[in-house]
């Protein structure tokens, strides 16, 4: 069953179909959210909210062969809501509670080299570059799938990807 069919089943309340959809998309959805928020804890919260929205709102998906683009729209909106909440907290002087500094609340990873590369990607790349790098490298989407899901021309995705990898290599002293 493809993701479009799974979403249809989810809209009918099929929990097994939802679980299958979750298993097929969790890394992609998390990568996408992390590329926007840059903070693993916030990304986890928004990931949970995203899947709840998918569960409750699957019936509003209009089959157009782009289920991932629909899921990304939900996730992106929730990320921007998170930014608004954080801005409101900052305006109220509560920003110290939110742990905004990248790295300050970055969970320890067993492999330090992996952590350094991911933190570099989150810190030095622009949002659209982070998206294509994380979606391709971490979740294994092909460049053409990323282009379709983000509504970008394939050539744009490829050039952003190559530019981002070059930046990363320069930053890490590998070029």
């Amino acid at each position: 069953m493809n993701q479009e069919e799974l979403l249809k089943m989810v809209s009918l309340g099929d929990k097994e179909a939802f679980h299958q959809l979750y298993q097929e998309t969790d890394k992609t959805v998390y990568s996408f959210i992390l590329s926007i928020l840059k903070n693993p804890q916030d990304a986890e919260e928004v990931m949970q909210e995203t899947y709840m929205k998918i569960w409750t709102g699957a019936a509003s998906y209009k089959p157009q062969g782009k289920p991932l683009a629909w899921i990304f729209t939900i996730a992106r909106n929730l990320c921007y809501m998170k930014f608004r909440d954080q801005k409101r907290m900052a305006d109220m002087g509560l920003d110290e509670l939110s742990g905004e500094e990248l790295g300050a609340d970055f969970p320890p990873l067993e492999n330090l080299a992996d952590a350094i590369v991911l933190q570099a990607a989150l810190e030095i790349l622009k949002e659209d570059e982070r998206q294509v790098v994380l979606l391709h490298a971490a979740s294994g989407l092909k460049h053409r799938e990323i282009a379709a899901a983000l509504g970008m021309p394939l050539a744009t995705v490829l050039s952003k990807y190559n530019r981002a990898i070059k930046k990363l290599k320069q930053h890490l002293g590998e070029e």
Binding site: S11, G13, K15, F18, H19, Y22, D26, K27, Y30, S31, L34, P40, A43, E44, M47, Q48, Y51, M52, W55, T56, G57, A58, A59, S60, P107, L109, E110, N111, A113, D114, A115, V117, L118, A121, V133, L134, H136, A137, A138, S139, G140, I165, L168, K169, L172, E174, E175
Partner: protein, 56 residues
């Protein structure tokens, strides 16, 4: 090793490191989802067209 091969290998290593880091970070939130929450149902097409019709 030729330069192009070395560049490709470096890129693959970089991608692999990003993948490993994201794999390690990706949480499993499925069990935390409350699937008893009522799903929003799409109204039947006939009802949609009635609602869309302007009142006379």
């Amino acid at each position: 090793m030729p330069d192009t091969d070395r560049i490709k290998q470096n890129t693959r290593q970089l991608e692999q490191r990003i993948k490993s880091a994201v794999d390690a970070l990706t949480p499993d939130v499925f069990d935390r989802l409350d699937l008893s929450v009522r799903q929003v149902q799409r109204p039947p097409a006939a009802q949609l067209s009635r609602e869309a019709r302007p009142e006379i």
